[in-house]
Amino acid sequence: MFSQLIFRRALTVLTLITVVLATGCDNRYYDEHMQMEVKRLDSDLDNRWSTSGVVINSITSNGPADKAQLSTGELISYIIGEYTIQNAQDYTRAVKKAMKHDSNMLLYIKGKEPLRIATRKLGDKVGLQVEGNGTVRIKQITPGTPAANSDDIQIGDVIEKIVDERKIFSLKDYKKSVNEFAKMNTSITLRTTELIGVKIASVTALGNLGDARAVDALIEILQNNRELALRKAAARSLERLVALSELNPLFQKFQAEDVNQLPADTLDVRHRESAEILGLLFVDLKANTATLEAPFGIQFRHRSASLHQKVSAGPLVELAEKYIHLDTEPEQEIRRACLSMLGTLKPVSSIEPLVKVLRDQNEIPGIRFQAGLALSLIGEPAIDALIAAFNEADTAAKDIAASALGRIGGIQTRDFLINALETTEDPAIQLTLVDAIAKIGDEPSLSALERQRDRFQEDDSAIRIFLDEVFSSMTTPAQ
């Protein structure tokens, strides 16, 4: 019995040792190609601040890594490989390999800047067909593909090479990519990153602080930085700065009297509410007071004027217009932030690009809707463009345009919407139109809706139910 106990103990110890060994091996990998050992990222940094990659643990002296002057402790977040293109078959194989990892590649065309080509999901076609031996030329461009959306690609262009930048998330990614690239190339490029947490935190903090000096630095990051996480943070911070700058009239009231509290009813309701949402103001309607939140609201009132000046003078409109389109900005969070900026700044010049987003059938619905929202905030000047979009575009765009028109209101809009409701047969659009007309809610709108109710009298359709709901909510108006 005693020996059995010892045996059992030994077994537990043995399993423990195996577990330790197994996990120990699992977070390290010796790379024969570069002759260095890499290890997993510290668990407390992993996935924090979208940091990813592997860390160099040790380097064999005089090996390739050593000669390239890599040093231990560096974080490798991208491995970059090249595919040389000699014939059509090379091209097809290279595209397949490059797109497989992350639906993203760089196309080098002779005499042109390298082009980044991204598809929305795995397996989507890039859209190019090529021919030739030695010199490979573009033979055909398929419409509706990423390649067709780029103005820089023409039939007859010579393809030099394809470059594949792979973001590394794990040791497995690293191992796989290095082994693949080593088979085709005599060299591999590594992109190392300093932990970008500090920068992301700085970018976010600068958005919160609301200081005019941050605007240029954030624009620079959005335009030129390679780290997606940092660009996203910069777009969000700019969005917040624009929102803060819009509240300048409110802060000027506090500043003019040099106080931190004012009667709530002396302030513009919309500004007051936005300031509350942004956490700058505390409103007590019962006591009729609006108090700047300490410390931030109080500090910010001194900076508000200069921020407003900077935002109104700066090239923010142009910048935002550039990054709202799917073909210039693959990251939807950035497109959304830029649309939101345009909605706040309300420039008439943005109507055309906004309509383009609204009508872009490749764009996701949420972003198209955001474009409609921005147009409705621009208001009256956007009416004609929205009506045109309603008349010409696809169902989804019609829907968004109709609800944007409903938010703008006005006689011209109302008459257009009523007419549209009376002529359209699409039930989905009918619903949106009823909703939009009900929002306008004046006498002619109501009688138009009455007519519709008569039209759908014996119907059990969604529109009938919806109309009933609209009327019942009107007879018992909410306080």
Binding site: H33, L70, T189, V198, E227, Q299
Partner: protein, 295 residues
């Protein structure tokens, strides 16, 4: 042997009953029972017990403990009597009668209750004690609690010390600063949190030193990362003259607390933070290295 203890217990019980206030006994009985609305009914008994015997410490304590505003209609006199402040008063009266016993109960027992109202009433009573001459004894108990092996005691003590320290920083802050050198990590951690909540600028140098200790040569001199991280957050709560200290951390490239310092600065809204943050953005962040393979 068991029988013997049981007998003694029974004897005490009988003697106790003889001396005890009748209503108090009934109230306690109710609490132990599983009757409907037992607490509400017990509270009535405790009130009668106090009417009969104004100095009964236990009745005061139990009334403070169980008298919830939920039993009464809002804004009625009885409802007002069940406010946190009034419940705290009852705790305090119990303390006045039997100081040593109830001080210990309040610090190690009452504060630990699940009901926030009970906790707040206890805080109210302990604040009264600190204001009315019981400070020395109170501090002794709080120190014992913050050095306890049980993390609930430590947490409760930090909470009371922070709250008393807000109105009276001159005694609490030096005491908490002393605790930053305590051998138990949990004690230091709670002291740091309390200093942040008090928000006194007097704590800045001590906290800064603690944060700095991360790069000490001897491992024994280094504070653990969690506590240092909390110290940065504490500086963020103190604000004012802590801003330059936080800026210094953001500029220290070797520090693992830069992100924490930046976050603290962003909530303070101080203009002095802007330039250092812009500088941080200019740091070179990545490079490309071409590795020529051997084969």
């Amino acid at each position: 042997m068991k029988k013997f203890f049981l007998l003694i217990g029974l004897a005490f019980f009988i003697i106790g009953c003889g001396n005890q206030n009748e209503h108090l006994a009934k109230g306690k009985e109710l609490i132990k029972s599983d009757k409907r609305r037992k607490e509400e009914r017990a509270v009535r008994e405790f009130k009668l017990a106090i009417e009969q015997e104004q100095d009964n410490a236990e009745a005061h304590y139990l009334l403070g403990f169980y008298n919830s505003q939920a039993f009464y209609e809002a804004n009625q006199p009885e409802w007002h009597q069940a406010s946190i402040a009034q419940r705290g008063q009852h705790f305090y009266k119990a303390y006045q009668q039997k100081s040593r016993e109830y001080l210990e109960i309040l610090v190690f027992d009452t504060l630990r209750d699940d009901d926030v109202n009970v906790q707040n009433a206890a805080l109210e009573a302990l604040t009264l004690i600190s204001q009315k001459g019981g400070r020395k004894q109170l501090i002794k108990q709080l120190q014992k609690a913050i050095k306890s092996k049980d993390n609930r005691d430590r947490h409760d003590a930090h909470w009371v010390m922070a709250n008393i320290g807000k109105t009276n920083p001159s005694t609490m802050v030096p005491l908490l600063i002393d605790l930053l050198n305590h051998k138990q990590m949990g004690t230091r951690l709670n002291a740091v949190k309390a200093l942040g909540e008090i928000g006194s600028e007097a704590a800045i140098p001590a906290l800064a030193e603690l944060i700095e200790s991360g790069s000490a040569r001897r491992e024994a001199d280094r504070e653990v990362p969690e506590v240092r991280q909390l110290a940065v957050a504490a500086l963020g709560k103190i604000g004012g003259r802590a801003v330059p200290e936080l800026v210094k951390i953001t500029q220290n490239k070797g520090s693992s607390l830069r992100v924490d310092a930046i976050r603290a600065l962003s909530t303070l809204g101080d203009e002095k933070a802007v330039q250092p943050l812009l500088d941080a953005l200019k740091e070179k962040s990545s490079r490309e290295v071409v590795v020529k393979l051997a084969n």
